[in-house]
């Protein structure tokens, strides 16, 4: 009887705890050792090889932002706060934190509006404008004075918007953005991760909770080593010789169909930023001179599509009074690493030199 009693009591407590968890949905991710006993990360957590990168990918936005240095940074009166959003090229694949665009801008000690510019890297390695808007909406909490949104055509196709796992696993946040700012989201998009009541229990969320816990532990290694991604000594360089393929996703030449591009996400992002100035930057890409480079610029883009995209962005920004900077060819071809948008440290320096005047000129 004693054993049965203990088992029953334990089982009851466990069930009660799970029910409470479903009802209260506590924001476990907000509890973080970062910025208290561990230094905040210089970029959002992302990692495919956690044991070596001391980093991991998770979808809990609370935990992600709680681990970022911006969450622990009190904005002082003399700080001109800039947040960078964008894809892996902003996050800094293969780059150390100090080599990224944010790192380089910070080390150049620039000022804007008579204040010291402090740049925070909120880039995240998946390419989707909707993912950028999602992160921007969180980033606005930290009162930026300027938002730099680096993007590229690859982030625009509608089919890419929910494909980012971060977006697919944050449906509720997206629906809120849809309600508040008019972001076009199909709630029935099959790409969204479905959640039933079981997924909201302690058991159902065990993986997500374990990820939050592991993120704290890897924070120790991040603090001890300064490493937050794997830096392979060797990697395949971005493709120079290209297929004679005119296609871009489902787009066929000769016209880039605007209705299949997520222009609404761009507009939503600008609404989310509100009165905070936002600069949209068409990020640099590799312009190949290899086989079939007369057809394609690089692995991502056939020339016809990219040229139309640039023209479209220029037109849209004029129509909507967006601040738009086209830096598509700002970096020389040999300063790309493993992808047509990933830069070497020197490439980032070249980009930072182009961005610096934009930042210094930006005042509310």
């Amino acid at each position: 009887m004693k054993t049965l009693n203990i088992i029953l009591k334990g089982l009851s407590l466990f069930i009660i705890l799970n029910i409470l968890f479903v009802i209260l949905q506590p924001g476990i991710g907000q509890v973080s050792a970062y910025n208290y006993i561990l230094p905040g990360r210089e970029r959002l957590p992302f990692g495919e090889n956690s044991a070596k990168a001391y980093n991991l990918s998770l979808f809990d936005l609370d935990a992600m932002f709680a681990s970022h240095e911006i969450n622990g940074a009190q904005k002082s009166a003399d700080e001109f706060r800039v947040i960078l959003i964008g894809d892996s090229s902003v996050w800094g694949t293969l780059l150390k934190p100090e080599e990224t665009l944010a790192g380089q801008l910070n080390s150049s000690n620039i000022t804007a509006c008579g204040k010291n510019v402090r740049v925070y890297n909120l880039g995240y390695p998946t390419i989707s404008l909707t993912k950028d808007v999602l992160l921007l909406s969180r980033g606005m909490k930290y009162q930026p004075d300027l938002v730099l949104w680096l993007t590229t055509l690859e982030a625009f196709p509608l089919e890419k918007q929910v494909a980012s796992p971060l977006v697919a696993n944050n449906k509720d946040s997206l629906l809120r953005l849809a309600g508040s700012f008019g972001l076009r989201v199909d709630p029935n998009d099959p790409a969204f991760a479905t959640q039933n009541i079981w997924d909201r229990t302690l058991i159902g969320r065990q993986r997500a909770l374990a990820d939050v816990f592991r993120l704290q532990l890897y924070g120790v290694m991040w603090a001890a080593t300064g490493i937050d991604q794997v830096y392979p000594s060797d990697y395949s360089k971005a493709q120079i010789d290209l297929d004679a393929d005119q296609k871009f996703h489902s787009f066929e030449p000769p016209v880039l169909d605007e209705s299949s591009l997520a222009m609404n996400a761009l507009e939503t992002g600008i609404k989310v930023a509100g009165s905070t100035p936002i600069v949209i930057v068409n990020e640099p890409m590799l312009i190949s001179n290899g086989k079939n480079s007369d057809i394609r610029y690089n692995f991502f883009y056939p020339r016809w599509a990219y040229d139309q995209y640039r023209a479209l962005m220029t037109e849209q920004s004029l129509n909507h009074h967006w601040t738009y900077v086209d830096l598509w060819d700002a970096v020389s071809a040999n300063e790309f690493t493993n992808s047509a948008i990933h830069l070497t440290p020197l490439g980032e320096t070249q980009l930072a030199e182009k961005i610096t005047p934009i930042v210094t000129a930006a005042c509310k």
């Binding site: 004693k2 054993t3 816990f213 592991r214 890897y218 120790v220 001890a224 080593t225």
Partner: protein
């Protein structure tokens, strides 16, 4: 072992504990243990070896039972029954190769049955000839000990393991491009060797109780303790095994369950979490500051403790479900005020084994010299040699040798220091505060000494270990 494997083993123990406590208990334990050694054996790149190695485990055990058991037991009917069970179990596991799906009891598809039958026939012949060699039994005991040590060296010396794997791959026409020293991962061999050597030595000294084949095999491969100990003594194990087990009552179930849960928590929550931040070959060269290096080292110290003692708790809890009380292996070792006490409470069954079968005999032998060495030299020699051997048990590498040396020298220094200061310390520590202060400082020093020793244990290269030492003291 994964948590799923641990839970399956515990469930099997609970089932046997609840329903097989009387009739047939020994044989159920035997059969379960046989299945478990095949099931837990990791898959190996050498074709068929993940089946041959557990089979070899059983062959070695049967052989050693034969040479250690009194002659009158050899032909008892129940031992033939046990032998039939062993052969039958191996054959059945082998026949699982004909199942239309992958067998879950063997890590890969077992080798061809014809090959197994030929191997068993050859072994049968070999045994037949050995039975004719009864008069050489005493020599066979020593030969078996040497053989086990030779196997052990092959597995633990990286270069030897590499060349043996190379030879096997050459003979079996497997790719030589992928030869690795880890090709020969023989699960549980160290513990099997310890237990068998214990029985061989006790037999040599006339202390071994008479046990039948089923008891002997079950003792050696008892499934809760097969992977990570503890190393029980056969007389103690057999006593529990032979006692008619009382029904698994509430209290026993609670104690066993509690121990199991504590073990699971220690191993799969605490140790596995600490493993993410514990010192290792990769992060040793990445750490930027002295403070973080200490944190990683302490993380390692606690990780290895929780990992190992967690497994021990699991083994003890599981075996209690079966009515068998395994010995304790850890007793708050990091709370001990000196190194001697640390080693009396860390992996206790291993240190007791080395004390019984190496330290004490060597000390007696040294004392028996006509002109005995000075006591100090004798203590230094025996302590350092014992700890070096314990180091080599983990692997025959420079770093394990240094780890053994570190502790051997530490034990010797503590022995001398303790002799010199015992009286003065007792005179000084007259108040509770002073006693506590002495104890706390002892615990602090001992823990840090042990933690520093873990550097050699955690890392594989001596040069990296040295760099870690320098970093810890701000010299790098």
């Amino acid at each position: 072992m994964t948590i799923v494997q641990v839970l399956i083993v515990a469930a099997a123990a609970l089932f046997l504990g609840l329903f097989m406590r009387e009739r047939g208990r020994l044989y159920f334990l035997l059969i379960t243990s046989i299945i478990v050694i095949f099931w837990l054996q990791p898959a190996l790149p050498l074709r068929g070896f993940d089946f041959w190695l557990p089979t070899a485990t059983l062959v070695i055990i049967v052989f050693n039972w034969y040479i250690t058991a009194p002659e009158e037991l050899h032909h008892e009917k129940k031992n033939w029954v046990t032998l039939s069970i062993l052969i039958g179990a191996v054959l059945l596991l082998n026949l699982s190769r004909f199942l239309p799906f992958d067998s879950i009891l063997t890590p890969s598809r077992p080798p061809q049955t014809e090959t197994l039958l030929i191997a068993l026939a050859c072994l049968g012949l070999l045994f037949f000839f050995i039975t004719r060699l009864n008069r050489f039994n005493a020599a066979l005991l020593s030969i078996s000990i040497i053989g086990l040590i030779a196997f052990f060296l092959v597995l633990k010396v990286p270069a030897l393991a590499y060349w043996v794997s190379y030879g096997i791959r050459s003979l079996t026409h497997q790719s030589l491009a992928e030869v690795k020293g880890t090709d020969l991962r023989w699960l549980g061999f160290s513990y099997i060797a310890f237990r068998i050597i214990h029985t061989l030595r006790d037999r040599q000294m006339g202390r071994l109780p008479a046990v039948n084949l089923a008891e002997y095999v079950t003792y050696i491969i008892f499934f809760p303790a097969f992977v990570a100990g503890p190393i029980d003594r056969i007389e103690h194990f057999i006593k529990d095994l032979r006692q008619p087990a009382a029904a698994l009552g509430n209290d026993e179930l609670l104690v066993a369950g509690q121990r199991l849960m504590v073990g699971l928590f220690k191993k799969f929550v605490v140790a596995d979490a600490l493993a993410l931040i514990a010192l290792n070959d990769t992060n040793a060269l990445q750490v930027r500051t002295t403070g973080w290096m200490w944190i990683l080292l302490y993380a390692y110290a606690f990780q290895i403790y929780f990992d190992f003692s967690g497994y021990t708790d699991i083994a003890i809890g599981t075996s209690r479900l079966l009515g068998i009380r395994l010995p304790e292996n850890f007793s708050a070792p990091y709370q001990k005020p000196n190194l001697t006490q640390f080693w009396n409470n860390w992996h206790m069954t291993l240190t007791q084994w080395f004390r019984a079968y190496f330290f004490n005999p060597v000390t007696r032998w040294l004392r028996s010299w006509e002109k005995p060495l000075p006591a100090t030299v004798m203590i230094a020699l025996t302590q350092i040699a014992t700890m070096l051997l314990i180091g080599f048990w983990h692997g025959v590498t420079w770093n394990f040798a240094l780890w053994g040396l570190w502790h051997g020298v530490g034990l010797f220094i503590h022995n001398r220091w303790s002799d010199m200061t015992r009286v003065r310390a007792a005179e000084w520590a007259t108040t509770p505060f002073r006693k506590t202060a002495l104890n706390v400082s002892g615990v602090f020093l001992t823990f840090n000494f042990v933690a520093l020793g873990w550097i050699f244990f955690a890392l594989s290269a001596t040069s990296v270990s040295w760099q870690v030492f320098l970093k810890l003291f701000g010299l790098h």
